[in-house]
């Protein structure tokens, strides 16, 4: 295994990536501008977008050599609102995986809006993990558009750890038969943080599958919303589409708004949705305490267990373990600021 980690010289030293993976190339976006283009031995390239943002090209038929990590950082070099347009083009028959991380390094009131357009050509397959970890004054909105052609598979796992206002809007269009789209997410918020998730899963043709699993843990006065809609067009027979959203509320003032919706125009489909919100299970807490596990540790174990099945959807074990560590330290209250910055400014 070759370590292809590249640190661009302009990257401030206070930034610490907690998930550098072996065999994964790192590319930096500073305030929306790509530092330097990237190309790996299998031909996967990451270029600058026209004005800002990135363009990922995965050539037809290739199997990506390792993975690539895009690290998007906001700092005080540019504290004005940044808007980015990004493209991920997955060539026919290719397979790839990407990790996209968003961070902030200074305590400015950053406003970032980022469009990520994913074009999955026939029989392509890609696994995209998005990790969001920003400061308490940062608001970041990502609008995903995913177009899936025949036989393609796109899985997006979003792990939202920290930030003032984080929004993820996902529009997925299953356009070719046999396409599969899987969206999973964890969101953790405390203080006055707010995290909004919106999904429209559009089944346009027959024989496509989709699934959504989103789970959130909210403490203090945090708020979250989940608006998820599955739309099955009249001709999209034999669709299988599932959605679930579960929330754990740790305080009386934490709030979640869940709106699971189904809009089905076909008559031969399997679809389901479900949403819950609840508190920690007191019986399980007592059970753990009766075995000598302290109250706070028992609560933590239960929270980790709550989101475990979402993390399990990340199939790279090394990455999954590191994200699990971050989720754990987040739940332990070990970061009151963005965990990737050594400045501890808030």
């Amino acid at each position: 295994m070759v370590l292809k980690v590249k640190y661009a010289p302009e990257i401030p030293e206070v930034f610490k990536c907690r998930v550098p993976l072996e065999d994964t190339g790192q590319v930096y976006l500073m305030n929306g501008i790509l530092r330097e283009p990237y190309k790996d031995s299998s031909g996967v390239e990451i270029l600058s977008g026209e004005e800002s943002g990135f363009v990922i090209n995965v050539p037809e038929g290739i199997s990506q050599d390792g993975s690539a990590q895009l690290i998007s950082i906001r700092d005080s070099e540019n504290s004005t609102p940044v808007s980015m347009k990004n493209e991920i083009r997955l060539g026919a028959g290719s397979s790839s995986s990407f990790l996209i991380c968003t961070h902030t390094l200074t305590l400015d009131q950053f406003v970032t809006e980022s469009a990520i357009n994913i074009e999955a050509a026939e029989n392509s397959s890609s696994h995209i993990v998005v990790m969001q970890n920003e400061h308490n004054l940062s608001s970041h909105k990502i609008n995903f558009t995913i177009n899936l052609q025949k036989g393609s598979f796109v899985r997006v796992n979003i792990v939202t750890l920290h930030g003032a206002l984080l929004e993820n809007n996902i529009e997925a269009y299953l356009k070719g038969e046999g396409a599969l789209c899987e969206l999973n997410g964890i969101y953790l918020a405390d203080g006055k943080q707010q995290i909004n998730t919106k999904v429209n899963m559009n089944h346009l043709v027959p024989h496509c599958n989709s699934s959504q699993l989103f789970k959130g843990i909210l403490d203090n006065e945090a708020k979250a919303s989940f608006v998820g809609r599955i739309i099955v067009a009249k001709d999209a027979q034999k669709t299988e589409a599932y959605q679930s959203n579960h929330n754990l509320l740790l305080s009386r003032k934490a709030k979640v708004y869940a709106q699971p919706q189904l809009e089905i125009y076909a008559d031969d489909v399997k679809c389901s949705h479900g949403a819950t919100s609840g508190r920690l299970d007191q019986n399980a807490l007592f059970y753990m305490r009766s075995r000598g596990i302290g109250a706070s540790e028992a609560k933590l174990l239960q929270q980790i267990a709550f989101v475990y099945d979402v993390l399990e959807k990340i199939d790279n074990k090394e990455l999954r373990d590191r994200l699990q560590d971050m989720v754990e330290s987040r739940l332990r209250g070990e970061f009151s600021h963005c965990a990737n910055c050594s400045m501890n400014c808030c």
Binding site: A284, F286, Y287, R289, S290, R291, G292, I293, A295, L301
Partner: protein, 248 residues
């Protein structure tokens, strides 16, 4: 080991325990029998520290310390164990992780370093053999998808891992078939030493064929109405509780 004097407890203002007196010495096995609703499970819950019950009177001295002032986890770390009548399922927490956390919390309390991975594995294997548990149990979520018998075996396994000084088994025999009952009883007998004690709460004499008690108590309406040797269990099995309740 354990001295209970005049213990009274209530839930939602309703008095359940109305003055329990009980003394358990090291090395003794006590059985507590009694009809439904007599307060057996309440007594075990109060001893383990479940907060839904309010102690309204009396005292409990465990190893010279006022037990009622301690949190459930402190009681456990001091060697008290409650085998649940209805073990709780905890999805997402594996048996291994659960036991490792529990053992390390106890070791921390004893000022010992965390257990090494090798020691832990060895201990797991050894104790799983005690209750004839399959290795696949260890990676599964705590009690998730376990049958009634498997859950009870898991309770005995946890007890074996934690090596308590005083174990309270709350109707561990309920819902067990004869094979599971034999395994559970054999587990208890293997763990029995001169130093540790057991309180076995049961409806039936059946379990006491396998685990021979030193003392048998009958609990009724929140009070112990009769205490005798192991022959009392047989008499209860034969005659029911009415003769004790009505005093004839």
């Amino acid at each position: 080991m354990l001295t209970i004097k005049g213990l009274c407890a209530s839930i939602d203002g309703k008095e359940i325990l109305k003055g329990i007196d009980l003394k358990v010495n090291p090395g003794e096995i006590h059985a507590i029998m009694g009809p439904n609703g007599s307060g057996k499970s309440t007594l075990s819950s109060v001893l383990a520290g479940r907060e839904t019950f309010e102690v309204t009177g009396g005292e409990v001295i465990y190893e010279g310390i006022n037990l009622l002032e301690l949190d459930p986890e402190e009681r456990a770390r001091m060697g008290l164990f409650l085998g649940f009548q209805y073990p709780v399922e905890i999805p997402g927490v594996s048996n291994v992780n659960f036991m490792k956390t529990a053992i390390n919390e106890k070791r921390k309390y004893q000022n010992l370093p965390p257990i090494t991975a090798a020691e832990f594995l060895k201990l797991m294997r050894e104790k799983m053999a005690v209750v004839e548990m399959d290795n696949s149990f260890s990676s599964r979520g705590v009690n998730v998808g376990f049958s009634g018998g498997e859950k009870k075996r898991n309770e005995i396994f946890q007890m074996a891992m934690l090596e308590p000084k005083l174990a309270i088994l709350d109707e561990t025999d309920s819902g067990l078939d004869i094979d599971a009952l034999r395994i559970v009883a054999a587990g208890v007998n293997k763990l029995k030493t001169e130093e540790n004690s057991f309180i076995i709460i049961t409806h039936y004499q059946r379990l006491l064929d396998y685990i021979i008690p030193d003392v048998v108590h009958v609990l009724y309406n929140g009070k112990i109405i009769k205490t005798a040797g192991k022959e009392l269990a047989l008499e209860v099995e034969e005659r029911g509780y009415d003769w004790l309740i009505n005093g004839n």
